[in-house]
C-alpha cells in the first residue's frame, strides 16, 4: 500500500521501504503459507462434515482459530507498526509469538479431535500466553511511539487480543467440561460472541477505517479519527456488556450490548459508504469484497440482536449455529480474500511491476467469484430447505477454493523469487517432495475417514446374526433420544449377552451424535434424524456420549449397565421365535396413523334398572403397543371389553354370542352372585347364552372369560369392568376407568406365548389394553378439577399399585368400602389391588402440569403401565 499507491493513510514516510526488506518478505510468505494450509484443512474438514463427528467444529476452528487468527496476528502487528509509526518489534520474538499461536491452536484442535482434555488445556494455555504477549507488544508499541492520525486503530487490535484471551479461556471451559449443563448455554454464547465479534470483528472494523480509503484510492475523511474512537467505544463496550450478560445467563444486558455493537457497526458502515467516490478504485475487487463483508457483518449482528431479543437463550444457542457459517464465509472469508487481494502483492512483490503482476493474478475472475461467494452466503443465510444450504456451501466453497488456488500461485511464484535470491540449486527434488507430501496427506485423511464411526472388523451384514448366535439369543432395541444436551434414557440395564440395538433419534435443534465406548458411532444427526446402532451382544458395562466438543462434559452421557444373566436362562431355549417377536417393543415409537386411544371416560349409567347388553366373543387385530398389532381374543371387539355401569340393585341381562369359529368361550361377572354352573358354562362357536345378574353390591368389578385355560383366555384380552356406583356418590368433574392387565405378544395360544404367561414374563403391562397409550395421548383435566379414577386389576397374574405422580388421593374406595374420605386428615398415595380386585381414588390437581399415573411397581411402569394427565391452567 505504501509508496506507489497514493497512500493517504500513512502519508509517505520512511516505513514503506522497511517492509520490503527480504526478511520481512519471507516472514510474510511463511505466515501466509500457514494461513493457506489452515484454510485447506478447514475446507477438507468442512467437506467431511457429514461423516466425521467433530468435523463441523474442526472446520470452524481450523478456519477461525487457525487461518483467521494467524492472519490477524500478522496483520494487526504489521498495521500497528505502520499506524503508530512505531519501530519494528524484535523479529525473533515476533516469530515466537506466531509459533505460539499456531502451536497452541494445533494443540487445541488435536486435543479435541483425539479427545485428550490435557492436550486441549495445554493448547489453550499456550494460546492465551501467545495472545497475552501479542497484547503486551501492541500496548508497548503505543508507548513512546510517534502516533498518527490512525493511532486509535491500534486500540481495536488491543481490544481484540483481550477478546481472544477471554474466548480461549471460555473455549477451554466448554471443551474440557468444566461447565455444568446450567451454565453451558450462556458460556457457549459468550464464547461465540467474544471470538466472532471481538477477536475477529473488531480488527476487521478497525482495519477498514484505514484500508477502505486506501483500497478506494481516496483521502481519508477528516472525522475518521474521531469516529474510529466512537465506534470502538460502542462496539467494544457493547461486546463487553453482551459477553458479561451472556456468561451470567442474563438476556437483557446481552441484548443491550449487542444493540450497542450493532450501532457501532452501523456508524462505521455509514462512514465507509460516504467515502466512496466516483473515480475508479485502486483495486475494485478488494473494494467490493470488503464492502460485501462489512455488509454481512451488519446483517449478522442485526440478526443476532433480533434472535437474542425474541427468544430464550437456549433457543438462541441452537439458532446461532446457523448464523456462524454466514459470518464465517460472508464476513471472515470475504474480508480475508478482499484484504489479501490488495495486500499480498504489496508485501510479497519486490517492485511495482511484480506487484501489478501479482495483483492481476489475484484479481482474476473476481466478479464471478464475488457473485458466487455472496450467492452462496445468501443461500446459507436464508431459512430455505436443506438442499439450498448445501448448494450455498458448495458455491461459497468453490469461490473460496478458486481464490485459494490463485493465492497459492502467488505464494509459490513469490517463494520462487525469494529462493532465487537466496539459493539457486536444489530445486529439482522439490516437486517430488511436494507430491509425496500431498499424497501422504491424502492417504492419512482417507484412512481417517474410512476408520471413522465404528468397527471395521466385521461386515455389517453379518453383525446381527452373529450377535444373536453368540449371546443369550435375545435382542433388545432401545429408543434413545438426544435432546436439550441430554441423552434419554441416561441409563439402560440389559442382561449380559443381550444383543443391544440403540435407535438413536436427535430431537434437538442442534446437531448431535452418539458414540458407544468401544463400539459404533452414529454420524452427526440433524434434527429429526434417526440412526440405529447395533452393539451386538453386550457383556460389560459401557458408556455412550455425544462426541461434539464439550457436550459429553456437559452431561450428554448414557450408561449401559450389564446385569448378571437370569437364573433360568436355560428355560429360554427352544423358542427362538420369542426373540423375534418380543425384541422390538418400542414404547416411544409412534402409533400407526389413524390409531385412536381407548376412551378412558366412564360413560354415565343409562337410565332404568334393567340393562340389556349383547356381548360378542371373538378375535380382533388390535394395536396393543406403538406400531405393534396383535390378534386379541375379545368381548365386544375390544380388549378390555366394554365397561358396564349401573347403580346398586340394577339388573344386567347380558347375551353372550360366540362369534369365534373354532373356540368355546364363557363369561364370569364378579358383580353378580349366582350359581356358576349354567351362566358360566362354555358355549361353542355360534351359540348364545343369556347371563342375568343383579348388582346387589357397589364396587369396581371384574368380568372375564370363564373357559379353561383361563390364563390364556384372560391373557389374550377377554376381560372388562363393571362399575356399580356406591349410593350417594358425589359427582366428580371427570370419571375415568382404567383396567390394568399384562400384555403377551406372539400368536395367541402358541407355545412361546403361553410359556411367557406361565413364567409371568409379559412383554408389557398396560392400562386399558394398550401400552403407553395415555403417555402419548394424555387425559386432559383443568387445574382445581376433581377427578375419580376407577381401577380394576384384570391380571391375569399381576395386581397393581396405582399412583399418580404429584398428587395425593383424598378418597380411597377399595373392594366395596371407603378407606379414606375427603374430610379425614390422612392422605393416600397408592391404590393397591390384588389380581381381580377393584376400587377408585379421587384427587384434585393443584396446578397446571403433567402428572404421570403409573403402576408403582416400576418394572410395570417402565414397560407400559404408564400414562399422563395433562392439567391445563
Amino acid at each position: 500500500m505504501y509508496s506507489n499507491n497514493d497512500d493517504p493513510a500513512v502519508g509517505g514516510g520512511s516505513p514503506p521501504s522497511r517492509f520490503k526488506a527480504s526478511g520481512l518478505r519471507s516472514r510474510h510468505l511463511a505466515a501466509h503459507v500457514l494461513v493457506a494450509a489452515w484454510v485447506v484443512l478447514a475446507l477438507l474438514a468442512a467437506s467431511a462434515q457429514q461423516t466425521l463427528p467433530v468435523a463441523r467444529w474442526l472446520a470452524i476452528h481450523l478456519f477461525l482459530l487457525g487461518a483467521a487468527t494467524t492472519a490477524i496476528v500478522v496483520w494487526s502487528e504489521h498495521f500497528a507498526v505502520a499506524m503508530l509509526h512505531a519501530p519494528l518489534p524484535d523479529r525473533r520474538w515476533n516469530n515466537a509469538r506466531l509459533a505460539g499461536v499456531n502451536t497452541g491452536t494445533l494443540g487445541v484442535l488435536t486435543g479435541v479431535w483425539a479427545d485428550l482434555p490435557v492436550l486441549t488445556g495445554a493448547g489453550c494455555a499456550l494460546l492465551v500466553t501467545a495472545a497475552t504477549a501479542h497484547l503486551v507488544v501492541l500496548v508497548r508499541m503505543g508507548r513512546g511511539a510517534l502516533g498518527g492520525r490512525l493511532a486509535p486503530i491500534a486500540d481495536y487490535y488491543r481490544a481484540a487480543a483481550a477478546a481472544l484471551i477471554v474466548g480461549a479461556v471460555l473455549g477451554w471451559l466448554l471443551a474440557t467440561g468444566n461447565v455444568g449443563p446450567q451454565q453451558y448455554t450462556g458460556l457457549k454464547l459468550a464464547h461465540v460472541h467474544v471470538t466472532l465479534l471481538g477477536w475477529i470483528g473488531l480488527p476487521v472494523l478497525g482495519t477498514l477505517f484505514m484500508l477502505w480509503p486506501t483500497v478506494l484510492g481516496v483521502r481519508m475523511a477528516e472525522r475518521t479519527t474521531r469516529l474510529a474512537r466512537r465506534v470502538l467505544a460502542l462496539t467494544g463496550g457493547g461486546l463487553l456488556t453482551a459477553v458479561a450478560g451472556l456468561a451470567a445467563g442474563l438476556r437483557v444486558p446481552a441484548v443491550f450490548g449487542v444493540a450497542l455493537y450493532a450501532v457501532g457497526v452501523a456508524v462505521a458502515v455509514q462512514l465507509f459508504a460516504r467515502t466512496v467516490r466516483r473515480r475508479p478504485a485502486i483495486s475494485a475487487a478488494a473494494a467490493w469484497m470488503l464492502a460485501a463483508a462489512a455488509g454481512w457483518l451488519l446483517v449478522g449482528v442485526v440478526v443476532d440482536l433480533a434472535l437474542l431479543a425474541a427468544r430464550p437463550l437456549a433457543a438462541v444457542r441452537d439458532d446461532i449455529g446457523s448464523l456462524v457459517p454466514v459470518l464465517l464465509v460472508g464476513l471472515v472469508a470475504q474480508v480475508l480474500i478482499g484484504a489479501l487481494t490488495y495486500l499480498l502483492p504489496i508485501v510479497l512483490a519486490s517492485g511495482p511491476k511484480e506487484r501489478a503482476a501479482l495483483r492481476a493474478v489475484l484479481e482474476r475472475g473476481w466478479m464471478p467469484r464475488l457473485a458466487t461467494l455472496n450467492l452462496g452466503v445468501a443461500l446459507l443465510a436464508l431459512p430455505l430447505p436443506s438442499p439450498s444450504g448445501t448448494a450455498g456451501i458448495l458455491l461459497a466453497g468453490a469461490a473460496g477454493a478458486v481464490f485459494l488456488a490463485l493465492a497459492v500461485r502467488v505464494l509459490v511464484r513469490s517463494a520462487r523469487g525469494v529462493l532465487q535470491d537466496t539459493e539457486k540449486a536444489g530445486a529439482a527434488r522439490r516437486p517430488v517432495l511436494w507430491g509425496t507430501a500431498a499424497g501422504a496427506v491424502l492417504i492419512v485423511l482417507a484412512v481417517l475417514v474410512a476408520n471413522s464411526g465404528g468397527n471395521t472388523d466385521g461386515p455389517p451384514l453379518a453383525a446381527g446374526t452373529a450377535g444373536a448366535g453368540a449371546g443369550t439369543g435375545t435382542t433388545r432395541t432401545v429408543s434413545v433420544t438426544l435432546f436439550d444436551m441430554r441423552i434419554h434414557p441416561a441409563w439402560i440395564e440389559v442382561t449380559a449377552g443381550t444383543a443391544l440395538k440403540l435407535k438413536v433419534t436427535n430431537t434437538d435443534a442442534q446437531r448431535h451424535d452418539l458414540k458407544v465406548e468401544d463400539g459404533p458411532t452414529t454420524p452427526m444427526l440433524a434434527k429429526g434424524h434417526t440412526r440405529t446402532l447395533d452393539l451386538g451382544p453386550v457383556t460389560k458395562n459401557r458408556e455412550a456420549w455425544c462426541t461434539l466438543p464439550g457436550h459429553r462434559a456437559a452431561g450428554m452421557t448414557m450408561d449401559i449397565v450389564v446385569t448378571g444373566s437370569t437364573d433360568d436362562a436355560g428355560a429360554h431355549e427352544g423358542h427362538s421365535m420369542t426373540a423375534t417377536t418380543d425384541g422390538g417393543l418400542d414404547l416411544s415409537a409412534d402409533f400407526s396413523t389413524g390409531w385412536q386411544p381407548r376412551d378412558a371416560d366412564l360413560a354415565p349409567a343409562p337410565g332404568g334398572t334393567v340393562h340389556k347388553i349383547e356381548l360378542h366373543a371373538g378375535h380382533t387385530q388390535i394395536e396393543v403397543a406403538p406400531g405393534v398389532r396383535q390378534q386379541m381374543w375379545t368381548f365386544g371387539g375390544t380388549a378390555p371389553g366394554p365397561t358396564l355401569h349401573g347403580k346398586v340393585g340394577d339388573v344386567f341381562e347380558v347375551t353372550l354370542v360366540n362369534d369365534d369359529t373354532a373356540m368355546g368361550h364363557g363369561i364370569d361377572f364378579h358383580a353378580g352372585s349366582l350359581a356358576p354352573d349354567q351362566p358360566m358354562r362354555t358355549i361353542q362357536p355360534g351359540k348364545r347364552l343369556v347371563y342375568r345378574f343383579r348388582a346387589d353390591k357397589a364396587g369396581a368389578w371384574l368380568y372375564h372369560c370363564s373357559t379353561a385355560p383361563m390364563l390364556q383366555h384372560m391373557g389374550n384380552g377377554m376381560y372388562g369392568a363393571v362399575i356399580i356406583d356406591p349410593p350417594g356418590l358425589a359427582k366428580a368433574d371427570h370419571e375415568y376407568v382404567l383396567v390394568s392387565s399384562e400384555l403377551y405378544l406372539g400368536t395367541p395360544g402358541s407355545t412361546a406365548q403361553v410359556t411367557k404367561m406361565r413364567q409371568n414374563t409379559p412383554d408389557a403391562w398396560v392400562f386399558n389394553g394398550v401400552a403407553n397409550q395415555y403417555t402419548q395421548r394424555p387425559l386432559t383435566v383443568r387445574d382445581g378439577e376433581r377427578a375419580r379414577f376407577w381401577v380394576v386389576a384384570a391380571g391375569p397374574s399381576d395386581g397393581i399399585a396405582f399412583h399418580i405422580v404429584g398428587t395425593v388421593f383424598d378418597t380411597v374406595y377399595k373392594e366395596g368400602g371407603y378407606l379414606l374420605k375427603p374430610h379425614q386428615a390422612g392422605g393416600s398415595q397408592v391404590l393397591d389391588l390384588a389380581t381381580g380386585q377393584g376400587g377408585f381414588v379421587e384427587t384434585t390437581f393443584p396446578a397446571a402440569g403433567h402428572y404421570a399415573f403409573v403402576d408403582h411397581d416400576m418394572r410395570h411402569a417402565e414397560a407400559g403401565a404408564h400414562g399422563m394427565v395433562e392439567v391445563s391452567g
Binding site: W434, I443, A446, V447, G454, T456, L461
Partner: protein, 148 residues
Amino acid sequence: MDTVGWWSLVRFAHVAGAALWVGGQLALTLVILPLARHLLAPEAKDRFTAAAGRRFGMLTGALFLPAQLATGWAMAWHRGVTWASLAEPGYGRTLATKLALFAVVMLAAAGHGIAHAKGRADLARILAVVSLVGSLGVVLLATALPAT
C-alpha cells in the same frame, strides 16, 4: 469350483488391473524415466518421456480404467452394496473412501497429462507423484476391505 469360482476371476481381474497400473506407474517413475534422463540426449529424452507418458495414459484410459470400473462395480453389486450403505461405518465407508481417493488419483493423473502438455514440468511432476502415492493409498484401503 468352491474356491476358484467366477467371482474370484472377477476379483482377480480387479486386483491384477490395480497391481499392473500401480506397478506400471512405479516402473515408469522409478526406473524408466530416470534412466532415460541419464542415458539419452536431451532432445531424445524429451521425446521418449512424452511418448512413454502418452502410451501409459492411453493404456490407462482404454484398458485399466474401464476394467477397474466394471469389475469393481460388479463386485459391489454382488456384495449387495447400496448407495445408502456407502455412508455407513465399516465396509461401506471404507469402500466410499477408496472410491473417492481413486477419483482424486485419476484427477491427478489427468492433471499430470494436461500440465505436461502445457510445459509446466514442475506441476506435472508434483501431480504424477500425488497420483502414484495416492494409488498406493487406494491399494491400502482395498486391502482393508473384507473379502467378497
